[in-house]
Symmetry: C2
Subunit: 145 residues, 2 copies
DNA sequence: TGTTGACCTTCCCATTGTGGGAGGGTGCAG
DNA sequence: CTGCACCCTCCCACAATGGGAAGGTCAACA
């Protein structure tokens, strides 16, 4: 179904982006301002909804708003070299790989700790004892996601 | 070396927790207030530094401040059942597993997209075309870490 | 003694992305 | 005409951390 005049609620439903976030994206300049009706309501067409869907999808894939902004620009630039897009994607993949490695290392540690803890009524608990022992170069888990 | 009277800077260096964070932890009640000297400076002993090290280590393992708070309470409660600690650790492991699964799914998608993108001067780019295609039940990557 | 520099203190602001809610206007259906 | 479901703009909150300003303190050195 093609509709070229929607309130923000319908655009939200079709794109999967909350109305709150649509307004926010517009505020911070990620999206251009959409036209307003005489009553001040934002007016969305299929074109705008398509952009919102693009944003939703890239966000789901874990790109930051900054990266989404770049991708949007590349998307609308018909002459851009595909190299940039590919690099962005590959950087992102590398980032995910690194974080997964970090998380696996942490899991390994935790599994080791949990294995030696009885987990019953007794108070003896090697986990806590170990937590109290500082490590040398332990670095915090990387944030985001 | 054992020192039982340090400024926040030394306590920070020994524990690996920034002075900024030490004050913050105290503010939000994660840590009890330390004694002050007559000049108003916080005064740390080895005991306090040990607690800070505990916090640092649990933070590095990805526990939230809330969870750290629980672990601290369990740590200082000599009679607590080890069950609680073990459950906390296992919940955390399960959480990490879930997030790794999510991230791997995203990586798989991104790898598929990147494979078909030439990544050269040409503008043709299947990544962007695909990003513009909305998926059905794609859900955002879970945050934290 | 006086100055300098390295500390310490508190307080405020920014970050990232999202949700909640107040207080008010609008529009359609019954 | 009334009620309800929208829409609008603002402000607040989150988690955890860093940055920086404005001011007090202390030790070392000339």
């Amino acid at each position: 179904m093609v509709r070229t005049s929607m309130n923000i609620g319908d655009a939200s439903e079709r794109s999967g982006v909350s109305a709150k976030m649509i307004r926010y994206y517009e505020n911070v300049g990620l999206l251009p301002s959409v036209p307003r009706r005489t009553n001040g309501y934002r007016d969305y067409g299929d074109q705008e909804v398509a952009v919102l869907q693009f944003v939703r999808r890239t966000r789901d894939l874990g790109f930051s708003l900054d990266e989404v902004s770049t991708l949007l620009a590349l998307w609308s630039d018909k002459k851009r070299p595909s190299r940039e897009v590919k690099r962005l994607a590959e950087d992102h993949i590398a980032d995910l790989e690194r974080r997964i490695r970090e998380m696996r290392a942490v899991m390994k540690t935790l599994r080791g700790l949990a294995k030696h803890c009885h987990g019953d009524e007794r108070s003896e608990c090697p986990i806590l004892d170990d937590l109290a022992t500082p490590r040398k170069a332990s670095s915090p888990l990387t944030k985001r996601h």
